[in-house]
Symmetry: C2
Subunit: 165 residues, 2 copies
């Protein structure tokens, strides 16, 4: 997360793990659509589309599909892009930094800003994710959707792909 970030345990979710995968592999897995789609959603969910314009203000769009076939599109933009180190994006701003429409029926459930940080570690890479929200309701909703388990399973899928390479 950015150095201006002030943690708030009521508003923030964090995920951290040491993984035996080089930073550069994880960076690629997060920044190239063809590398992101295979691991980004915990199976049996899938990621059926992904668009990445890797620069501040550039689009980050994914479409997730549930096992029942329902599609969940999500669009935001990048805020910070530091190769192999840090990737920050938000769904509160659309591409070009345009504010996203207010939350309403059928739209996203809550706004968040997420940041992945990668640091070299004797065991491979220290992988840290920080996801921050505007209010407790949004944070709780995100936690209840299975944030910890979901990010853990997705990372397992990423690591399994790395081992196949």
């Amino acid at each position: 997360m950015n150095s201006t970030y002030r943690p708030d345990s009521m508003l923030d979710l964090t995920f951290e793990r040491i993984v035996d995968v080089p930073k550069e592999f994880i960076w690629r897995a997060w920044t190239k659509p063809e590398h992101l789609k295979p691991w980004f959603c915990p199976l049996p969910w899938t990621t059926i589309d992904c668009e990445i314009d890797l620069r501040p203000g550039g689009i980050f769009r994914t479409v997730m599909r549930s096992p029942e076939g329902q599609e969940f599109p999500g669009t935001g933009c990048y805020l910070e892009v530091v190769e192999n180190e840090k990737l920050t994006w938000t769904n509160a701003l659309l591409p070009g930094f345009r504010p996203a429409p207010a939350i309403h029926e059928g739209s996203v459930d809550f706004f968040f800003t997420a940041s992945i940080q990668l640091a070299a570690h004797p065991g491979g890479t220290r992988y840290t994710a920080t996801v921050i929200h505007a209010d407790e309701a949004g944070c709780k909703k995100h936690a209840a959707m299975g944030f910890q388990e979901g990010w853990g399973k997705a990372l397992d899928q990423l690591v399994a792909l790395a081992r196949k390479m």
Copy 2:
């Protein structure tokens, strides 16, 4: 505005003028609280407080006071800081890129992202402001608040200060 920006005449407000003031003076007037406060609000409104942390994710906070003494605080964060060239900020994200709480009674009226661009010009500086919104309602509200007139008068005040130096 960022190169990822896609203009939308229904959602965007723009202001452009050539001013006989060096770029560096305008940059300072926008980025140092003590230089911003004297010109930022068209008199008889005043800017009674200002906080600036000039880096992406850093706070940009002002408090404007109406002639009747009512105070209007506004807080956001910077997105792009390119010295003497471009300054972009939004009130949709708070410092540290945290999403701002949803619009409600007593809060901001609408979210926007604003960008000032400064370019050298034979007449001094080409001063361009672009302010983008999520929806037509927000854009219309901003226009009806006197966007063009307000930005024009504020810039007049900035130019008058430059002439005094």
